[in-house]
Symmetry: C2
Subunit: 411 residues, 2 copies
């Protein structure tokens, strides 16, 4: 008999308990073990729920029970989650977490702690909710040298951008609707400013390239400044504006993680990922590319991922070497954002084909000009940040203002 | 030091050897082991290749070396692959295979043999090439009660149907092009008649529901009869005709696996899976739905999946309980195709709204009528096989012939 414990009985934690009880027979068959959901750590009591009697108030109760082999952390935030998870790992109990903030900030320490105590720290639920992505990366694709990962990793911003496209709403109205539907929090900063997506791309980057990438090292831009006008004009040019969390390995061997709104071509599957769904595209030298798609959040989708981790952990007798990364003590392996290079979408105050060709050289697409003379076009040539700045200045000297600019996601 | 061996040095086998040698340092780090590609079993010699000296002619050489812990089977076909794989497993050597025919026909026996000898029989490469789907199903999604799986699992037919859509080619011309490009074999029967997709849905059904589903139990219809006319008319109604391999669990608890061309609505991501790509949509009570997308075949994509299996197998000390299924000795758990039910697309010899409403009741869509009076429409009401037959007869009595009919994939 192995015992499970759950830390935090909020949306995800209660989902873990309920999904486990619902599918217990199936889960026991698949894990080859007898299992019991033994403890739920929460400050609150839940007398009316069937699992009310399992609620405990102190982590020590869980730590003291040697039959507890696997613990789910569903509290969120860094403390006390970090202290509790570390204590569990030090007691040789494997941990599965849905807490991306914890993994992005403390993953290196917790992975090392797990290794030192021959147990595992898993976090499939921390990126992409229900989507299997962590295990595919380090197991199924373990023979690949990865070159890029790009994903829609935040359902809230994807819902907002989708409403701007389909319902002609501006950012503020779409955000208000997301809040009304419960997809965005009252303080939407973490989602809207890209911090949530940033934590997730940190986790994927760390796993794919083996070195801890901290959120501070990632150029992060949210969607607050995305204008309805550009969303609609991009559509006319065959692109959807999406908040893309991405990491690429450059020719110099460094990696470049970014979070920012990008123009995604209509023939890229990521452009069709709508509403609160998430998707991750992975490129490697063996697979070429693969995509993973599913619900990015929600009670049972996230619980499904946490339980999937717990079911594997209970069967393992030692740490999995591939599911880890190191703290290399510097960020030298991360390239500066100034080196970020991409094809671009531009909106300018006037169309002047001659001036544009002079500034951009070859690669300027057909120019779409509106009644107010504003014009949009794409440049089919990779431009880095300095080149864009230079182009903005050169256009300015010709009396043309750049009103908006988006990098285009390479296919 | 663990030694790997590869059986069969064709496209996939040579890919396994080459990708391993290319990424050996990475693979050793991720697996936490020193590894050597020690033997390649093939009747041919490869004196000009860097691994030429590793070629052996007898399986006994591999069986006799106790340092060989993991073997890749990339020969294809049932014999001698079955005999060789079984012998490896009996010697306690885990096996990874790309051979869907072997898994669909003999998976139950080989999984039991692996269990008896405390090793593993893995087959990630047998379905969807590079796409991680086997491990996500039994590991990441292990807490889910599955209700349906639907996929585009054959790249050749998907390429052909795609050319019919985008290049206005009829079936015969598109097949000829696929053969010219090397996507279809000279004898295209296994792809075109749906046998290849059938083997793959057998494997996914067996894994998801725990009981071996043999190809003979699956209603399988290929794409040879798909007319360009219907491909184009479906498009006008907002659907793409795709060869869909599918299994659903019915309310009576039985499962119903099918392979057949179906109409897939434009807002379903599967409708955007083009060319030689594959994709699998999975439904479960925890995740709601998730999709996996990638290259369905090819040297390195398939090799990537085989190596991913080998890298995990070398780290395992016993059989994984979830990655298995049983032979239950009967096909009673499989529902008869007569119970298959879906909304439908119809093409008829004439439009007669009154007659159609009389026959189908509510749910007939707007009718699209062509110059030759042929008409297409959908029926938004699930109809089983008998109901379709009855409708065909009833229309016939009114002088209207049904010229084509496709079930619509539910979202």
């Amino acid at each position: 008999m192995d015992k499970f414990a759950v830390l935090g009985c909020g949306v995800v934690g209660s989902g873990v308990v309920e999904l486990f009880e619902k599918n217990k027979a199936l889960i026991e068959k698949r894990s080859g073990r007898k299992l019991e959901m033994a403890y739920i750590l929460d400050l609150r009591d839940f007398p009316d729920r069937p699992y009310g009697s399992k609620v405990v108030k102190s982590i020590d109760t869980i730590l003291a029970d040697p039959e507890v082999t696997v613990v789910a952390e569903c509290m969120g935030g860094i403390e006390p989650a970090f202290t509790f998870v570390k204590a569990c790992l030090e007691a040789g109990k494997s941990v599965a977490t849905s807490n991306k903030e914890l993994v992005a900030a403390k993953g290196d320490i917790l992975l090392q702690t797990a290794k030192d105590h021959h147990c595992n720290f898993f976090f499939e639920a921390s990126v992409g909710g229900a989507i299997p992505i962590i295990r595919p990366l380090h197991k199924c694709l373990a023979a690949n040298d990865f070159s890029a990962i790009a994903g829609i990793l935040n359902g809230t911003t994807n819902f907002i951008l989708g409403k701007m496209i389909t319902a002609d709403m501006d950012f503020a109205s779409a955000l208000a609707l997301a809040q009304e539907k419960g997809y965005a929090e009252k303080d939407p900063t973490a989602d809207v400013e890209g911090h949530d997506a940033c934590r997730k791309i940190c986790i994927l980057s760390s796993l794919a390239f083996g070195k801890h990438v901290y959120p501070e090292s990632v150029h992060t831009k949210g969607i607050r400044e995305v204008e309805l006008k550009d969303v609609k004009l991009c559509m006319q040019l065959g692109y959807a504006i999406k908040l893309i969390a991405r990491v690429q390995r450059l020719e110099n061997g460094k990696i470049l993680p970014t979070v920012m709104p990008m123009a995604v071509a209509d023939d890229n599957l990521l452009s069709d990922v709508n509403g609160v769904y998430n998707a991750v595209m992975v490129r490697g030298d063996g697979i070429s590319k693969a995509m993973f798609y599913g619900r990015g959040a929600g009670k049972f989708p996230t619980a499904s991922a946490v339980l999937g981790d717990m079911i594997e952990e209970v069967q393992l007798s030692d740490t999995i070497p591939a599911q880890t990364w190191e703290n290399v003590g510097s960020a030298d392996f991360i390239e500066d954002f100034s080196q970020f290079s991409a094809e671009r979408y531009f909106r300018t105050s006037a169309a002047n084909a001659e001036a544009l060709t002079e500034v951009f050289g070859e690669g300027v697409s057909e120019i779409l000009t509106m009644d107010d003379h504003e014009s949009v076009f794409t440049v089919a040539r990779e431009m880095n940040v300095t080149e864009v700045e230079d182009a903005v200045k050169a256009l300015s000297a010709k009396g043309i203002r750049v009103l908006a600019e988006y990098p285009i996601l390479q296919p």
